[in-house]
Amino acid sequence: MDALFLNQLFNGASLASLYLLAALGLALSFGLMRVINMAHGEMLMLGGYLAWMTLLVVPGALGIVLAIPVAFIGAAAMGGLIQSTLIRRLSARPLDTLLATWGVSLILQQAARDLFGAIGVEVRAPDWLTGSFMIAGVTLPSARLFIILIAALVLGGLALLLLKTRIGLLVRAVNQDRMMASAVGIDVKRVDFTVFCLGSGVAGLAGVMLALLGPVTPNVGQSYIIPAFLVVVMGGLGSIVGTTASAIILGLFAALAQIFVDVSVAQMLLLVFVILFIQVRPQGVIAVKSRQLDA
C-alpha cells in the first residue's frame, strides 16, 4: 500500500475521533429526548476558546492538560444552561427545538465574534504535541495521535459510566422506555439534564482538540457539526456503539474520498453515502430493538 493511502487512513482515524467527540453528546441526548441541539457546534467553539484562555493564564505543557477539564466544565455548564432554560420548555417539539437552538447558535457565534474577533485565535500547542512520528514512510503528527487517544479514553470512560454506574443505569432505563422509567420513580428530567451536560462537556473537550489543529474561529464548530449530525443520522437511535461505528465509517470515508476528489466533492459524496446507507439500513448502524411503533 502506498504512503498516500496510509496517510489518509491515519487522517481518517483522527477525523473520525473528532466526529465521534462531536457526535457523542448529540447522540446521547437524541436517544433520550429525541431532540438535537443545533448549538452543539458552539460547544466545540467554546471549548476551543476556553483552551486558548487557559493557555493564556497557564502557558506551557501544563496548560493543555489543564485546558481539558476547563473546557469540559465550561461547555457542560453552557449546555446545562441551554437545556434548562430552552430545551426543557420545548419538550415533545423536536423540530421547534432544532430552530430555537439554531437561534442560540447564531447568538453564541456572534458573541464570540464580538468578544474575540472574527479572525480567530491561535493556540500554541506544547512542544510534545508539535512533533511527529515516522512509521513505514507515514508521518503521524503527535497532535492527531493525541486526539485519537483522547477520543478512545472518552469513549472508554463513557462506556464505563453507562455500564457500571448508577447514573448509567438510569440513563439506560430512560433510553429504553421513558414512560416506564418515569413510572418507577426515576427523575427523568434530571437524567436528561445530566446527559445533556455530559454531552456538551465532551463537545467542549473536542473543541480543545480542534484548537490543537488550527485557529479557533467563531464558526469553527460549524465545519465539524454537520458531519456530526450525519453521524447521528447513521448511527441509530441513542446507541453509543452505533455512533462510534458510524463516526469511524464517515471519518474514514471522508478522508479516503479525498485521495480521489477534492474536499468539496468529498463532502457531497459523504452526503450521498449517508443517503445510500439509509436505503439499506434506515434504522441506523445499530438499532435498539423496541416494540414501540413511533420510536
Binding site: I36, A100, W102, G103, V233, L271, I275, L293
Partner: protein, 342 residues
C-alpha cells in the same frame, strides 16, 4: 395541541388587503423601493412552499436554499450567455483560465430551455431527494439534518468550482432577459407585475391544494403517520409531492430573485440563508399562506434596515427571533391575528 388542521375559512380579508397593497405599490414607491419589494415578494413564493411542507406536512427543510439556488443559477446562466457575443465565454471563466464553455452551460442559451430548467430541475431534485429519504421512513429530525447537509454540500460545491460557477462571488452583471434590457425604463415595473402575478397564482394554487383531499392527507400524515398507514394510505407519495412542489416554488423564487437582485451567489443559498428562510415562515405563521408572505416581507425589510446600519446586530436579532417565535409564538403573527379561532 390545538386543532390546527383546518384552514381558517373565516376572515379571508388579509389576502385581499395584501393584494390591494401589491397593486398600489408601483404607483407609490420609487424604482429602488419597488425593486426591493419585488425581491422580497419573490422570497414570499419560497415561503409559501415552506407553509406547505413544514406547516401542513410537518417536514422541516433546512435546505430550501439549494432549490432557490438551482432556479437562480439557471436564469443566471441564461443571462450570462445572452449578453455574450457569439463564440465568447464569460469573463470569469477567462480569468480562471478556461477556454471553452462547459457542456452543461450551452443549452441555457435557449430561453425555452432555461424556463423549463427553472421549473423542472428543482422539482426533480426535490422529488428524488425526498423520495430517497421518505420511502425508507426516515423523517422528522433526521430529514432536517440531512437537508442541512445538502445545503452545505451544494454551496461548498459551487464555491469550489470557481471556473464554471463564478465561485464565491457568484454570477452578476446581467444586462438583458429574453431580449429585454434590464436597465431600460419600464422593465422594473414589468418584472414586478410578473412577480406579483406568480405570487398570486402560487397562493391560490396552494390554497386550493391545502383544502383538497391531498391537503387533508398531508396534515393527517403530519399528525399521525402510522395511523395514516393503518388506514391504507402510503404517506410517502404525499410527502414527496409536497416537497417537490415546495422545491419548484423555491426554484421559481430563486429565478425571480436573481432577476430583481441582479446577482446569485453561494452567500444567498448556503446553510445560514436556508435556515433564515424558515424564520420568515416561523414569524409569519407556519400554517398560514398569507402569514408566510407577510413574514418574508417583514423579516427581509427588517434585515435590510438593521443590517445596513448595524450588521453585527442582525445576527443577534435573528437568533433572538428564532428563540422567541418558536417558544412563545409557535403559530407566528398569523396566530396572533386569528386568535384562538384559527
Amino acid at each position: 395541541m390545538p386543532d390546527l388542521s383546518r384552514l381558517n375559512p373565516a376572515k379571508p380579508f388579509l389576502p385581499w388587503v395584501l393584494l390591494a397593497l401589491g397593486i398600489a405599490a408601483p404607483f407609490a414607491l420609487s424604482a429602488y423601493d419597488l425593486n426591493l419589494l419585488a425581491r422580497f415578494m419573490a422570497m414570499g413564493i419560497l415561503a409559501l412552499g415552506l407553509v406547505l411542507i413544514w406547516g401542513h406536512g410537518g417536514i422541516l427543510s433546512l435546505g430550501q436554499g439549494v432549490f432557490f439556488g438551482l432556479g437562480g443559477y439557471a436564469i443566471a446562466l441564461h443571462m450570462k450567455l445572452a449578453d455574450l457575443p457569439q463564440g465568447e465565454i464569460p469573463d470569469f471563466m477567462v480569468w480562471s483560465g478556461r477556454e471553452s464553455l462547459p457542456f452543461w452551460w450551452e443549452p441555457f442559451a435557449s430561453p425555452a430551455f432555461t424556463i423549463a430548467a427553472i421549473l423542472i430541475v428543482p422539482t426533480l431534485v426535490g422529488a428524488l431527494f425526498s423520495w430517497a429519504v421518505f420511502h425508507r421512513r426516515v423523517g422528522g429530525t433526521y430529514f432536517a439534518l440531512i437537508t442541512q447537509a445538502l445545503a452545505l454540500a451544494f454551496s461548498t460545491l459551487i464555491i469550489s468550482r470557481q471556473d464554471v460557477t463564478g465561485g464565491f462571488n457568484g454570477l452578476t452583471d446581467f444586462y438583458s432577459i429574453f431580449g429585454i434590457g434590464l436597465a431600460s425604463p419600464g422593465t422594473g415595473s414589468m418584472l414586478y407585475w410578473v412577480t406579483l402575478a406568480i405570487l398570486c397564482a402560487a397562493f391560490v394554487g396552494l390554497r386550493w391544494l391545502l383544502a383538497s383531499r391531498f391537503g387533508i392527507l398531508l396534515r393527517a400524515a403530519r399528525d399521525g403517520e402510522n395511523r395514516v398507514r393503518f388506514l391504507g394510505y402510503s404517506p410517502t407519495p404525499f410527502k414527496v409531492v409536497a416537497f417537490a412542489i415546495a422545491a419548484m416554488l423555491a426554484g421559481i423564487s430563486g429565478a425571480l430573485f436573481t432577476l430583481h437582485a441582479g446577482v446569485v451567489s453561494p452567500a444567498l443559498i448556503g446553510v445560514v440563508p436556508s435556515i433564515e428562510m424558515v424564520v420568515w415562515v416561523a414569524i409569519g405563521g407556519r400554517y398560514s399562506l398569507a402569514g408566510a408572505i407577510v413574514g418574508a416581507l417583514l423579516v427581509n425589510l427588517a434585515r435590510d434596515a438593521v443590517s445596513s446600519a448595524f450588521p453585527e446586530l442582525w445576527l443577534y436579532l435573528m437568533g433572538a427571533l428564532f428563540i422567541f417565535v418558536v417558544t412563545l409564538l409557535p403559530r407566528g403573527l398569523a396566530g396572533l391575528i386569528k386568535g384562538k379561532a384559527a
